[in-house]
Symmetry: D2
Subunit: 252 residues, 4 copies
């Protein structure tokens, strides 16, 4: 099974590059998952951005700390293959995992959110234990949406040998550490953003920089330049992860 | 001028891989700078680890938030080419920049520390402005020791066109985003750690993981496995940055 | 000189209780200063709330981290006796101190903001040193708008013997520690909020509680019940602080 | 039933003032509980400080984020009436609640820790729900060891009408807001520290101040001056809270 995971799709440039490029390579993958927490102009996921991702060939859209920025997400979480972090408290709308099937094999996808330098959700370690005790699949892919590299790696080692792959998101910067952990789990600290890299994590340089220089709130505006498509490609076979590596493409 | 910047050298595995590999490639570079804030068993820089780095061919050692973990650093900061962050308050022992010469050209090296999710030092933006107004060199290399990707990129765009290169450190994870910014400055969000990657940012998996699982303090122990050498190579010519790219080598 | 400092005036209940009570006691004080960072429905200061405070007898309005929540504050900072934190970077609109005169004596009022668990502004310690070296008055009153009790007390001891009084704000909870520090400066960790105490720091219980229970963003609404007027009374004489104590009044 | 809750007993001055004063007033109370997280020189609870508290008349000792600073606490948690926060993960040594009896009535004491500006423990809201569904008593007293005033008040309103009293600790500053909440629960945001108030939250001024001025780590030393005894007195009758108020005594 070949799986492509597309990192945080950021605003129009992110949607554009996904629409432009994904259809060309879609048939090389059995499943395509994309993080869409910033798809709606940087703030959450709305019907339009969800539709664009799906039409380009994405099977499942995950969220993150920006999950609730756009109110249309509630409707999407109810009806569509959209996943928010699993470690929100019980009663939270939507769900934290999804089962996908391809070629007679199943993939369990789960997202958890970190807590270091982020909001205090439920313990992602024990929340994952509970899910993994209950749901089985041929492959398990865990997305760790987190800020601190230590927490991402701690979760990865905790899951090592128990899940097929752990992929980090949220920092909007791809990492050069795709690897196999000692007990076989594939891992990368961050898939990176799909959007404009001549930016501050996808935000317009001028206004974002002004926050740091003035210490006063500034409007958020997404950057508008040439976009890069940043994804991670996973090859899974015989119940195991075979390979992991970044997949990058840039707008001409 | 060819410059090699070695990312956070972590404990014995980091020192070992630098000793093992750097001498073999030293003559390909005019200058070698290493971040040594974790060289002394993960906590600061002591005389011994400083000596090992220097004997392997490092010209200048920078620090970070772990600068003060080992008391021998005070003596090193006084006598040796060792640099702590520039944006500590006036009166802080040591210095935040250093001028290196090679082949008739000069390189000004500066380190600043970020403030997002870190301690509240002086404003790194204005601190850099003041230094750059005063010190001139053929090339300027700024190390941004920071946690948040947004702050690192904000500093890089702020300096774009004014300095030759901006390299991030501190997260211990190398990033796959070495690039030229719009006005010509070379940039990479994080050089990555030089140490054991089968670890939690260089710490022993078992004890570091226990912090997350128990919520109680645990002893820090550096991981001891096979090490990776993670550096960034800069080619600088005619007063400008020509290329930037990761340099990686792993122990056999 | 008798000075009344009114703690963070919160939304309509805060404005109402100031209008209701301050005129009755105004003639007992030479100067009245109020923190107005939450006067405009909890979010900043607008022309209307500023006008209400002034008409009730307030001489000077200070702000805080909510300073920039309402855009009318820029106009007020330009024309009126309104003060934002002094340790914003140079070039910030408005000013961080104000001189008031009463009965032939002068009072220098300054606000600084803390940095622990707050945004990274300039160092409040050195910023105050610079101001105090330059501006002189018969009495100096410093408002420390900060979260952490340690930082407030550190600033107070740093200023002990150099300023007449240090009063904390921002937590919206009055403290029972009004005291004279060893070298004579009067001090209280927090003056407390002027607003509805059957609330969560002035916010409506239901919606504010939902943030903690759901981990998702919720609309902010100010609480609407019976308000308490919370101020600190300072008696200053012969260039020194004579007494400090809370002044509390509750709506009938 | 009359209950005295003594706020964070800080180092030798705290132990001394408890030994000096508590025996004189002990017979006015049915139960005495003290927070002892800082009793051992400011860092945790050891056998000696525990013994001193008990011999002075304390029935039960609670902890906080400093619970694990001294290793003797593990033995105390196993054998003695000592309570750590309830919302540590399952498997944490010790327990988060204790039942005390006096005059034929029972009091359930529980401690929870906040998560805002603190470490990410389990959700204190749901953890309390689970305990309250299971354990019954004539009176329930909840200690909220937390930094943010908003989180303390949110917990108090959440428990309003379901528990007898909610008392905050941790900031080391007593608050002037002892009150009855709308549904009858008694509440105070912070009981305050029992120790030396001419200090920075109980720490020696010189060394603690140096942290803020230098941005570098400094040794922790407890302040050594005249101590204040800061407690909150609760009168409980007929299954309800009758009154709440601070009890303060200062060394001569
Ligand atoms: Fe995110
Ligand atoms: Fe994102
Ligand atoms: Fe660091
Ligand atoms: Fe480091
Ligand atoms: Fe505030
Ligand atoms: Fe406020
Ligand atoms: Fe505490
Ligand atoms: Fe404490």
């Amino acid at each position: 099974m070949r799986v492509l995971f597309i990192g945080d799709v950021m605003a129009e440039p992110g949607l554009r590059v996904v629409s432009l490029h994904l259809p060309d390579i879609r048939d090389q993958y059995d499943l395509v998952i994309a993080n869409g927490e910033n798809a709606a102009k940087g703030k959450g996921l709305d019907r339009r951005s969800y539709r664009i991702l799906r039409e380009a060939g994405v099977d499942l859209v995950s969220l993150g700390n920006h999950a609730w920025d756009h109110k249309e997400v509630y409707e999407l979480l109810e009806r569509e293959p959209v996943v928010r972090a699993l470690n929100y408290p019980p009663g939270t709308p939507g769900r934290g995992w999804w089962r996908l099937d391809a070629g007679g094999e199943s993939l369990l996808f789960v997202q958890v959110m970190g807590r270091v330098f982020m909001d205090p959700l439920d313990d992602p370690f024990r929340t994952l234990d509970a899910l993994l005790a209950q749901e089985k699949a041929d492959y398990v892919l865990v997305e760790v949406h987190a800020e601190a590299t230590s927490e991402k790696m701690a979760l990865a080692h905790y899951l090592d040998g128990r899940v097929t792959a752990v992929l980090g998101t949220h920092t909007h910067v791809p990492t050069l550490d795709a690897m196999r952990l000692p007990k076989g789990t594939l891992y990368q600290t961050d898939v990176g953003m799909t959007g404009t890299y001549a930016s501050i994590i996808g935000g317009e340089v001028e206004t974002f920089l002004a926050r740091f220089l003035t210490g006063r709130p500034q409007p958020f505006r997404a950057a508008q330049g040439r976009a890069r498509f940043h994804a991670t490609e996973l090859v899974l076979e015989g119940g195991k992860g075979v390979s992991i590596g970044p997949y990058v493409w840039e707008e001409p």
